[in-house]
């Protein structure tokens, strides 16, 4: 009995460790116009159809939805322009005015070079950088957790 219990606990612990790794999908960094910086790690990244990306905070209390269009390709790397962002928090959805930005999506199984950079976008990952009209910079990098229509 003791062996079974111990084994079950060990299994649960291994599962917990595994889920900690699996949930470490991405990182969001928010830099305000004042320079104050906050890093959110991990965040979950979810693709919604062809036109939106959803970023969920680790505590599940904040969701950023980024709507993008004008998608074209640089090699196999997809590049889109974000133009609308909403923040859902405490049950309320707030629009956030976007000034400009770029979203890179690598849907392939290989790392792809970022244009005009020595950096690479890992497989099945995104790199997002945008600036709001209030001067806040939002950047998100990480692996896509899931996709839905």
């Amino acid at each position: 009995m003791l062996i079974r219990t111990t084994a079950a606990l060990a299994g649960a612990a291994l599962l917990l460790a595994g889920s900690a790794i699996a949930s470490a999908a991405g990182t969001a960094t928010i830099v305000k116009s004042s320079g104050d910086t906050k890093i959110y790690d991990p965040v979950r990244i979810h693709m919604i159809g062809d036109s939106s990306v959803r970023i969920d905070s680790a505590d599940g209390r904040g969701t950023l939805t980024i709507v993008h269009a004008a998608c074209s390709f640089s090699g196999d790397l997809r590049r889109c322009l974000p133009y609308a962002v909403t923040l859902k928090q405490r049950g309320v959805t707030h629009p956030i005015e976007v000034e400009r930005g770029t979203l890179y999506l690598n849907a392939t199984d290989a790392a792809l070079p970022l244009p005009h950079s020595s950096m690479k976008v890992p497989p099945h990952s995104i790199m997002l950088g945008l600036r709001t009209q209030r001067g806040t910079s939002i950047s998100v990098t990480g692996r896509v957790d899931g996709a839905s229509q």
Binding site: T6, A10, A17, A20, I21, I30, T37, C71, R78, H94
Partner: protein, 251 residues
């Protein structure tokens, strides 16, 4: 049996403790590998160091961006700036392109319809159509088969580059004047769909203004100019983004 059980339990307990002890560093390691840092809990740090979200965090801190504006803001879409009396730019000739009434494209509200998939419909109406010399297959073949849709807030919907409207990030590349309207043209960003268009037609962008140029009207009331070549004669053209066809507006 009891002894055996104890002997088996001991290593399992060690495994369990080791696993629990390792799980946090593994998670942190995974987070660092995921892009930036470990530790779910906020730790004391220097004022200049970036703060990490911790247990007290509730979602994302963007309160400055969701707060009501302190003063009335500019319109969401700042359109082309007013036509300068004497537009001066080191790359842009001061002479704006003149059009006679017969050949001039109508003003924005009734500009000839695109024939592509942007919902404009319409037919070329006997006008000269120049097909993309490079891609002549299925629609959007130039874009890996993916439909290109314009993104609001960007000049030309983002076709010519990621130039946010109202932001002087792009180099002004001349003006195109009409009766009551001036379109500002900007430099096409390398690696953009617009750059691909220019490359496919072997066109070189030049500042709008002088006569006898190729003028291509793109999405969202944008226009660029290029020197004519053997494939594309001087004149005005409307772009169909679905297949990068250009249709002459000259009758």
């Amino acid at each position: 049996m009891k002894t055996l059980s104890r002997e088996l339990t001991k290593p399992l307990a060690i495994v369990l403790l080791s696993t629990i002890a390792l799980s946090a560093p593994l998670g942190a390691l995974a987070q660092r590998r995921g892009g930036g840092g470990g530790g779910g809990q906020a730790a004391p740090r220097a004022a200049s160091a970036p703060a990490r979200s911790g247990g007290r965090t509730q979602g994302f801190d963007l309160h400055e961006d969701i707060a009501p504006p302190a003063r009335s803001t500019a319109p969401v879409r700042p359109v082309t700036p007013p036509r300068p009396a004497n537009p001066v730019h080191e790359n842009a000739p001061v002479v704006t392109q003149q059009h006679d009434v017969a050949s001039r494209p109508p003003a924005t509200a009734h500009r000839p319809a695109l024939i592509g998939n942007l919902g404009y419909g319409g037919q070329p109406g006997g006008r000269r159509v120049i097909r993309d010399p490079r891609y002549q297959g299925a629609p959007w073949g130039w874009n890996h088969g993916v439909t290109w849709n314009p993104a609001p807030r960007y000049w030309g919907g983002g076709f010519w580059g990621p130039w946010a409207l109202g932001i002087a990030a792009a180099g002004i590349f001349g003006y195109i004047a009409y009766d009551d309207e001036t379109l500002t043209s900007y430099q096409v960003e390398p690696d953009s769909p617009g750059a691909q268009l220019l490359d496919n037609y072997q066109l070189t962008q030049v500042p709008c203004g002088p006569p006898d140029l190729v003028v291509i009207f793109g999405p969202d009331d944008s226009a660029i100019c290029a020197d004519p070549n053997d494939s594309v004669a001087a004149g005005e053209y409307q772009l169909d983004p679905s297949d990068l066809t250009i249709v002459s507006l000259d009758q």
